[in-house]
């Protein structure tokens, strides 16, 4: 392999990306995409019905949308890119090449989006009266631009799970028009709207003091939410049925509820049901929706989108780009070569180029860092991925044999890409590292 490896020993590399990405998705979907639609919708409604209260609310929303999207929103977006460069350089490097022109267009759309947002925010006082329609049009254009940014990036994200024809043709358009792009884009569109209503409802309940105005706003939100939930379910179903069979079969496992399918169903259907209940409630008795319920729905929706992103990432295993590259950056077509020639001889930056009697543990560590640490830790907060937990009590021979057939025993694991000798060194290192960790833990426990 070609690049230095950056390790996150306790947190785990995946968690670093996930934290940034989920935060970004929540902000982008709820504030930039869904939020813009609600904001401009309220402004338009206020203008049509000559209701300055609605316009004032839209204006307040625009301030918070501006502040949040141009700070945490924008920087976590760049952040996914930064984090994947540090953690998955082979994957992001390859995707940048496949999707270069899409990304370039994305740049233009980003700039357009930000300029429109700035124009929209700074022209509230100037574009009134006869010019009001220009303000509203700017808002509509902003909503479209925000949605377009998602349209492009969703193509990349979908292609990682379902690259489709691209794997053979290497054609840009095959990568873009991949099998899950459209369903996932449509699904996300309505997720964004539902999420925006879910997050803005408690805020409205807090900041809009006038009861009549609040009712009007919430009722309007209720309409959006009801429509969004229906479409979200429909497109969600289309999406789920378009993912590869093996990925589909891993959904429950990926949610962490393996063997508890009942729970999985209950939790997710329950979450949808409570959203639906609130939508109907908003529509019919907007003022009666308790703030606790709206806060709960906000919380549940963030949970759902977080779960969705985590599941989507997990069911792609063992790949980072399906059928092309494994999650540790090893390409499918490299595995045989590494098995024959050795992984370490073909790697830079690891400080070890082959296994000798003297460097077995060091070589094993290098192999662990390069091939395992993108998902696993020795010790860490995700106990299922921490070796200290997973392989405690194993001996090196057992482990080495297991690693040899790992990808058969567990479909979501990539094959070990190295010689038998390297595999043995890796096993020895892991056993040793786990031993050291548990000794350290015992000592710490005694001292306590």
């Amino acid at each position: 392999m070609e690049f230095p490896v950056v390790e996150f020993p306790w947190l785990g590399s995946g968690t670093v990306i996930a934290l940034i990405a989920v935060l970004h998705v929540v902000i982008n979907h709820a504030f930039a995409i869904g939020g813009s639609v609600l904001m401009v919708g309220l402004e338009h409604k206020g203008w049509k019905e000559n209701n300055p209260g609605l316009e004032q609310t839209a204006r307040k929303m625009s301030k918070w949308i501006l502040i949040i999207t141009t700070t945490v929103g924008a920087m976590t977006g760049v952040g996914i890119w930064f984090a994947t460069t540090v953690i998955q350089p082979y994957a992001i490097g390859s995707l940048l090449r496949v999707f270069f022109w899409a990304w370039f267009v994305e740049w233009i759309v980003f700039v357009t989006e930000v300029v429109l947002l700035l124009v929209y925010f700074y022209t509230w006082d100037r574009w009134t009266g006869a010019k009001k329609k220009w303000h509203i049009r700017t808002g509509v254009a902003l909503s479209i631009a925000s949605w377009l940014t998602m349209t492009i990036i969703t193509a990349v994200l979908a292609a990682m799970l379902t690259p489709g024809q691209w794997v053979e043709t290497r054609s840009f358009w095959d990568a873009v028009a991949n099998p899950t792009w459209l369903p996932s884009l449509m699904f996300r569109t309505f997720v964004a709207l539902a999420l925006a209503v879910a997050l803005f409802t408690p805020i409205m309940k807090m900041i809009v003091k006038d009861d009549g105005l609040q009712a009007k706003i919430l009722k309007y939100f209720g309409k959006w939410m009801l429509v969004s939930i229906y479409f979200m379910i429909a497109f969600g179903a289309w999406y789920v049925f378009s993912v590869p069979d093996k990925a589909y079969s891993m959904i429950v496992w990926a949610s962490g509820l393996q063997g508890k399918e009942q729970w999985f169903r209950m939790i997710n259907l329950g979450a949808l049901a409570i959203m639906l209940v609130m939508a109907l409630w908003l529509l019919n008795r907007p003022r009666k929706v308790p703030i606790v319920v709206s806060a709960l729905v906000a919380f549940v929706s963030i949970g759902l989108i977080g779960e969705f992103e985590m599941v989507r990432e997990a069911i792609r295993k063992p790949y980072v780009v399906y059928d092309y590259m494994y999650v540790n950056g090893v390409r499918v077509d490299q595995v045989e070569q590494f098995k024959q020639e050795g992984f370490l001889t073909n790697s830079k930056w690891l400080g070890v180029s082959n296994v000798t009697e003297q460097n077995r543990l060091e070589a094993g560590h290098a192999l662990y860092v390069a091939q395992c640490s993108s998902c696993h830790t020795i010790d860490g907060w995700r106990s299922k991925r921490a070796f200290a937990n997973r392989i405690q009590g194993w001996d090196a021979t057992q482990l080495s044999n297991y690693v040899n057939s790992l990808h058969n025993a567990r479909y979501f694991m990539p094959p070990f890409a190295g010689t038998d000798q390297e595999r043995q060194a890796l096993a020895e290192y892991l056993v040793q590292a786990v031993k050291e960790t548990s000794t350290a833990q015992q000592t710490a426990a005694k001292e306590r």
Partner: protein, 351 residues
């Protein structure tokens, strides 16, 4: 774990080819980087000068400084949003055409690189507080200024990490694994010189921006504001453009000997570029001086035109420096996709 720099571990390129003409990509890189860096300059200098003027207003009791500071804070909050999104294209292109260099230099400072996200978010949020509480905290100036200073200090840190990355990507012979970011600041020989050049440029560009803004305000009938901006802008622009006569050579003579040679007659293109850049810069300084004295419109026009030219030529020059550094590595074996597609510019540099 420190790995010796003696054996250069230059990666092979990725297996997928670069989707287009590299020469064209380089043109896009130069243009998009210039756009990005101008807004970065306006952001950093805007917050720095806002804080400076608010402090000056507090010290002298003259409300005009406070007013100028507030205007600068508003401008900064706009510029920073544009600066971020404009950065997408240059980051994209540099990642794609210099993968072997840029990915290693990034990964060598992986965690500090990621920390930039937290630092920039904190800086931006602090600067929003700074901007939106200007009237609210009229009687709590100390607290208010603290937010401005906090945001500015964080912003001033960010370029150091970026400059370390772009300096490191040019010198694979110096790559070291396991270094702290603070060691890295001093490990690569051009970081601080670049930083100084950047800081002066930042302030000079803000000065010129204020001159233009002041002129616009005057046209709109806001005489007082216009006068205030122009007055401050022209002094800042003149001072820091002139100081580049020091910072420029300091940076130039910190470059690697072979690269310096190219710009001192070794390569026609490089030598011509740097000569033109220096001439344009001197022209800009003279124009700024004349404008400072007379505030005459023709000089303002000269300032604007020469400024645009200086920035363009400097942006190009910077790219030629990069390709001069990388040329020996680009020619090395192990290069799979870039080889043979070298841009005409880079090749002509070596002739």
């Amino acid at each position: 774990m420190l790995t010796a720099a003696s054996s250069i571990q230059l990666p092979n390129d990725l297996a997928l080819s670069i989707p287009g003409d590299i020469g064209f990509f380089k043109i896009l890189l130069v243009i998009s980087f210039i756009l990005h860096i101008i807004f970065v300059n306006l952001t950093v200098a805007g917050s720095l000068l806002a804080v400076y003027n608010e402090w000056r207003g507090m010290r002298t009791g003259n409300p005009k400084y406070d007013h100028l500071a507030e205007e600068l804070a508003v401008q900064t909050s706009i510029h920073k949003s544009i600066a971020v999104v404009l950065g997408v294209a240059p980051l994209l292109i540099i990642s794609v055409i210099y993968t072997r260099f840029f990915y290693v230099s990034t990964l060598l400072i992986g965690k500090p690189w990621l920390m930039l996200l937290v630092i920039i978010i904190a800086a931006f949020l602090m600067l929003y507080v700074y901007k939106f509480t200007w009237n609210h905290w009229r009687n709590r100036k100390g607290l208010h200024l603290t937010f401005g200073i906090g945001g500015t200090v964080l912003l001033l840190y960010v370029p150091l990490v970026f400059l370390t990355n772009v300096s490191a990507m040019l010198q694979p012979e110096l790559w070291v694994q396991g270094q702290s970011i603070f060691t890295a600041f001093f490990h690569y020989p051009t970081v601080w010189q670049r930083y100084l050049h950047f800081l002066f440029a930042t302030l000079a560009i803000m000065g010129i921006y204020l001159i233009i803004l002041g002129n616009k305000r005057r046209k709109n009938g806001q005489q007082e504001d216009g006068q205030l901006f122009t007055e401050f802008g022209k002094n800042v622009a003149f001072l820091f453009t002139t100081l580049q006569l020091i910072a420029g050579p300091v940076l130039f003579f910190s470059l690697k000997g072979q690269v310096q040679q190219l710009f001192l007659g070794g390569s026609l293109l490089a030598t011509a570029l740097i000569s033109v850049a220096v001439l344009l810069a001197v022209g800009l300084i003279v124009s700024l001086y004349q404008f400072k004295k007379t505030e005459a419109r023709p000089w303002l026009r000269n300032v604007v035109v020469l400024f645009a030219l200086v920035v363009s030529v400097m942006g190009w020059l910077r790219h030629e420096v990069r390709d001069s550094y990388l040329a020996p590595y680009q020619a090395e074996s192990g290069q799979q996709t870039i080889q043979g597609q070298q841009s005409a510019a880079a090749e002509s540099m070596q002739k």
